[in-house]
Subunit: 240 residues, 4 copies
């Protein structure tokens, strides 16, 4: 029983970080009303905290965030979870290295999703965060939609990353066709941060195409240089 093994302090830290990640989505203008949600996982206990469904951001408190096991059993909390819970859980099960997931309908990333197009890596801002195009799923089939829709959204994501051999920590975002982005990171804080940057990258890529219809992505050399500047053993950015 997971409830026996809960480290209360760890769960409090998780809930507080997940709360902060949700508030960051709101503060940065990525969400409207109660749209959007962020979650986080404590890999020790395998517990996931997530935003409750339909609660205004200004009313959210850490203790309101329901907590689930990786297979979806409620552990703590009185409020219903975000309706996207099953997508989050599937991503945590399949992408072992991630610690947080953020989902928004941020407007430019959503427009790329609605257009069914991956975001090409047009510049170094993109390369600093996403080591290649931000991919887009295939549209879900009627069977997938009429079946276990929320879970199937997650399955469409992980199937895409597997079939294209994309490392989810090198490209920590995806566009779900006809829907919107899901973004992740090593922590809930990183997931929210990446969601904010994704929206900026999506906006600039859209402007770029309005200036040049047939635009080439940056070279592999530039993609690598900027990516490994911020990631991996040889990272040089920041004070760390």
């Amino acid at each position: 029983m997971p409830s026996k093994n809960i480290d209360k302090a760890a769960l409090d830290r998780l809930r507080n970080e997940v709360l902060a990640a949700n508030l960051e989505l709101n503060a940065r203008g990525l969400v409207l009303y109660t749209f959007g949600n962020a979650s986080g996982i404590d890999r020790e206990s395998g517990l996931v905290a997530i935003k409750p469904s339909g609660v205004p951001y200004e009313d959210l408190r850490a203790e309101d965030l329901p907590v689930f096991t990786l297979d979806g059993k409620l552990v703590e909390g009185k409020l219903k979870p975000s309706s996207d819970l099953d997508t989050h859980l599937h991503l945590y099960r399949e992408f072992a290295g991630i610690g947080g997931v953020a989902h928004t309908h941020s407007e430019y990333a959503t427009a790329w999703s609605q257009a069914g197009r991956a975001i090409p890596a047009y510049g170094t801002t993109h390369a600093d965060y996403f080591h290649g195009p931000v991919p887009v799923t295939a549209p879900l089939t009627d069977e997938e939609i009429n079946g276990d829709y929320v879970l199937n959204t997650g399955v469409a994501i992980t199937r895409l990353f597997a079939s294209e051999a994309i490392d989810p920590l090198a490209v920590p975002a995806v566009l779900v066709a006809g829907h919107a982005p899901f973004v992740w990171g090593r922590t809930p804080t990183d997931a929210a941060h990446n969601a904010v940057v994704l929206e900026a990258v999506a906006r600039m890529a859209c402007f770029t195409e309005s200036l040049r219809k047939e635009c080439e992505p940056v070279s592999q050399a530039l993609l690598d240089r900027h990516h490994f500047r911020k990631h991996g053993a040889k990272a040089t950015y920041g004070q760390g």
Copy 2:
């Protein structure tokens, strides 16, 4: 005589909710100066409260909102009503299930109106609120413009919904060609909320087309899945 039957407490509640709906339009950046207006109806008494004409939002008080019968007789209030009153009243007479109407010149929804184009359902944000394209009226004829113009605007709307067999509660918004959107809901609060979401949906649909000229709407299955997630007997969204 309606004035005999007025429930003062109900009318106060109505005016306060209509005031809040008007202020929401302003707070969300949907209106400029004194543009825009929201109204609400108390179906018990058949009385409609509406924003007065040309009054700045920051000066609005609940008691300033004039009150009318469904056929346009002034019941209470010293200020002239919004110049769009007759459109609102017509919508209340024809669309029995609605309790509030909001009209703005919000910029992207207005651009679709000016382009004379319905907003296609390009994604799930749209599907969550509008169960199909947001339709656009035909341009009003010179006779309609030179006649009872404001009423005829309402007639063009209800004629469109009737001829296309659109349920106004499934698609709670319309674009008036060459003019701007009218939006409604079960309450004034819902009407304002839907107006805010319509503008976001209009913006994202515009960006989507800039990324893909010939874009397909989402499937009927996805439209249904998202619509019935938030509406109807099987709705699952939120804490309700």
Copy 3:
């Protein structure tokens, strides 16, 4: 000598209204740094107050505004006037009915100016304020630029309105090709208000064309209906 006839109270009122008009341009996001300027005229005395050149909006005080006669003689003030003074004065001399002028580089109106295109009347928001397209001047010739450039900008404007027989009070704005808009009104307050609405109209017209390349303007009947709703003897809008 104009200084003998100055009504001090009238001049104070003028300066205060011109100050407020300038601050409105800044508050509504139409200007960057010290860009933009508004002026007003007291038709009794023929005196014009205008923003000084290059002074930050937050530092502006009414007494800082220099005052000029209609033919450009300094009457009061220690600061240099806006470098666009001669355009303002020319407009006051030629357009007898106007009492205020505002000039900004607001971004969408400037884009139409840079594109050398008049803004078509695509909707009722436009028609409420501008009774026809907002026209654009021809590019200034090298002689006009190398000569009395600022005055010649005004001459290009009034020549256009004369040759096209446009009533400057029916269409209270113009786009100067390769430059930016000049906007006016019966008062400095109206001029600033019209400049704010022009930018919204310019923005919506740009979005409209992105949605429909070959878009028709609204009918003359609709243009007339909306214009005369807010202007002239039969105006019905507002509480006045």
Copy 4:
């Protein structure tokens, strides 16, 4: 040894002005999170102060800014410099008249960089600040990227200005292809100011092209008139 000759008061003034320039980039919305950086040089001592790497703007203090000699030796400071330091130093070495450099990923200027296009001089706002198109570098070669990348970015800039015979004080900005703008000025304050104006100019040029695909830049006469209005011996703008 530069440290012997340091004028402490001059260095404090420099650091404070560089801090203010960095904060201006943030206040004007040109940077996201810790993106972007500004620096300044004291030409007497040849010392350069620059933003540290990855520090949030709200936490920046003047004493945190590391100080370097023109050939890159650390003189003062405990924090790592911006990862773009070597580009800044190269610009100071090659462009003798400049006193400040600002680098941002501001969204429209970055879009032009990503599209690999110079910004044409479409209007007088542009001409007031940039006496000709804002040029774009060639994409860096794989050798340049895999070698001393940050220095090579600076070399690509100065090579472009030399080969095109562009005066860096007449056109105080460049777009690095696939990356973003670098902007400079006689002081750090000017550099930040020019970066803010560049973004506005980039935005308006993008809107201009959406309104007219094949748009001509302004005439040389207009470019000269506006440029020399604000620059050089005959400047007339402002109170100076």
